[in-house]
Symmetry: C2
Subunit: 360 residues, 2 copies
Amino acid sequence: MNESLFLFDAPPVSYAIGEGALTYSRKILEPFNEAVILVDENTEKHCLQVFRENLPSLKVKGVIIINSGEENKKLEQAIHIWNEMTRLQVHRDSLLINLGGGVVSDIGGFAASTFKRGIQFINYPTTLLGMVDAAIGGETGIDFSDLKNQVGLFSDPHAVIIDPVFLTTLEDKHWQSGFAEVLKYGLILDRELWRMMYGMHFRQISDWNKIIIKAAKDKIDIVRSDNLEKGIRKNLNFGHTVGHAIESRFLKSGKPITHGKAIAAGMICETWLSSKVFALECTRLEEIVKMIDINFKRLDIDESAIPELLELMSHDKKIRGGKLRFSLLRKLGKAVHDVEVDPELVRKSIQFYVDQKKCD
Amino acid sequence: MNESLFLFDAPPVSYAIGEGALTYSRKILEPFNEAVILVDENTEKHCLQVFRENLPSLKVKGVIIINSGEENKKLEQAIHIWNEMTRLQVHRDSLLINLGGGVVSDIGGFAASTFKRGIQFINYPTTLLGMVDAAIGGETGIDFSDLKNQVGLFSDPHAVIIDPVFLTTLEDKHWQSGFAEVLKYGLILDRELWRMMYGMHFRQISDWNKIIIKAAKDKIDIVRSDNLEKGIRKNLNFGHTVGHAIESRFLKSGKPITHGKAIAAGMICETWLSSKVFALECTRLEEIVKMIDINFKRLDIDESAIPELLELMSHDKKIRGGKLRFSLLRKLGKAVHDVEVDPELVRKSIQFYVDQKKCD
């Protein structure tokens, strides 16, 4: 097998990751009589033609367009897809192709899994975030009532086809957003990946194919060992408990930020929490914070926002029995889930971020 | 075991069916810290108190009320439930109790299965239709764009608790509606059940506990052997291809009819189709039509409605590869699925219903 293309069959999901995956996917599409393609305005412009040219024999029944952006990951867009699929007379044996970033695969996966009690879908992620995270694992859904992924379900795609060819037109802010998740894999389970990137700004990285395969494999390994987020999969939430609250707050205030920026901030807070709960060394805390700061400017959050952020966390699905639970770092490359943390310590972790301290 | 209470553990679902099931369910509820109860305005009035009195130790976090009626099986009501569950801070380990008929368990099951990527729910059906059909099998969903169950998913309840105690306050039209499905089980797989009821108006039946247990077991057997409606479960669609189209048409015209009335009419059409496709005998056709006519007045459908009904069927999820497929009777008590039928023959079957012929 070509080292630059990683193929993996993990029923019910088939994966093809790396250069050439798009062309390879012809085999996977063969059994389907017809497909509908879901795009956003960006992927319609930059990716749809490449997709069609590489898969000329696919019978496309229609193209459905939604609006890009996390602020548009809303029920209204799922309704639009249901309406369009109804109009196109999509049947149970039709296929939905999600050609886009996390918003497209999240909403598209949700709409497909709930259309006529479920039709199959395939994710072709076109952003770094989609490739290393959103397209893998069957987490579909929408934001609702200002809460992230409040409505959705676990539903596996038929296949995930990850081809870096789509990244050539990706904007910087989207590279950055996906990079937060790549850093996360390094921190929670892959020291080698962390070492490959350490000290670099993401624009300095050259061998993205290798990094994407490595990061995507990390995510596949985790979701395969824990399909319904009962255990180890929760480690993926590192940075996300605080991060989601930050993301929700910016979304509510009408100034949405990328998922990656929110998670980068969340990882700084939760690395600090790790240093308090697990005695992660001060030098390690500094190393991690430094790497995040190289790649992410600090967000405009001040002390007065902390109570609202804590309130938002109380809605988080990671709560059990009313207590705040975190996935934290026991050490670099090793996360632990279901760690109960006192709300006062959480408050201090955001204060640490606001004050831009190094170690305390 | 008490013959009037049937207990059956079929992971992931537990069933308790018959007199005493409500009280028995205490054991099933024990592991849950808290629950939210979903009712409609009827079950709030007639069933909620009985429920609470029999299960005094259940910690109820809140009661959510929706509007009854198939015409209200809509997205708006699912949104209402998501909003209420958000307000009540329902978490992933909370339980939703669906206390009501098919509309409550369909919408409630859908809302629960899509809330925070899925919380558990238990169905306590309070109507005959719910007890013998809707509450069993994990078919959740809503009507959308005037199409029945266009949005929804397969999601198993944690348990189904069927206690006839709730039927004491059931209106006649709801008895009738459920009775259509009971007749269906007789026709498609249970001659003994058919014989127990044959010739009677549903109001003449005395031993409902026995009939409910028998019919509910029939449905459980089918859904267990075919969880995702790939094969034998399709037999349950007998009467429903034409029936759903009829139901949709009345719904669209602003004069909704009960599911049972629509399915009763659909079963007459599809029994006629069976007589043409499988040479079901003329006397058998007459016997079946007679029994349905004893219990269901003919609907106000005339010839001019037939094209619209055929168009509605073309949206039906039971279509594969663009052809109309039916579940039909090979003989009394034996259905066959995926029978392709010429649209012209379908037209004639509705004509047979409209003309009120006996046999032709």
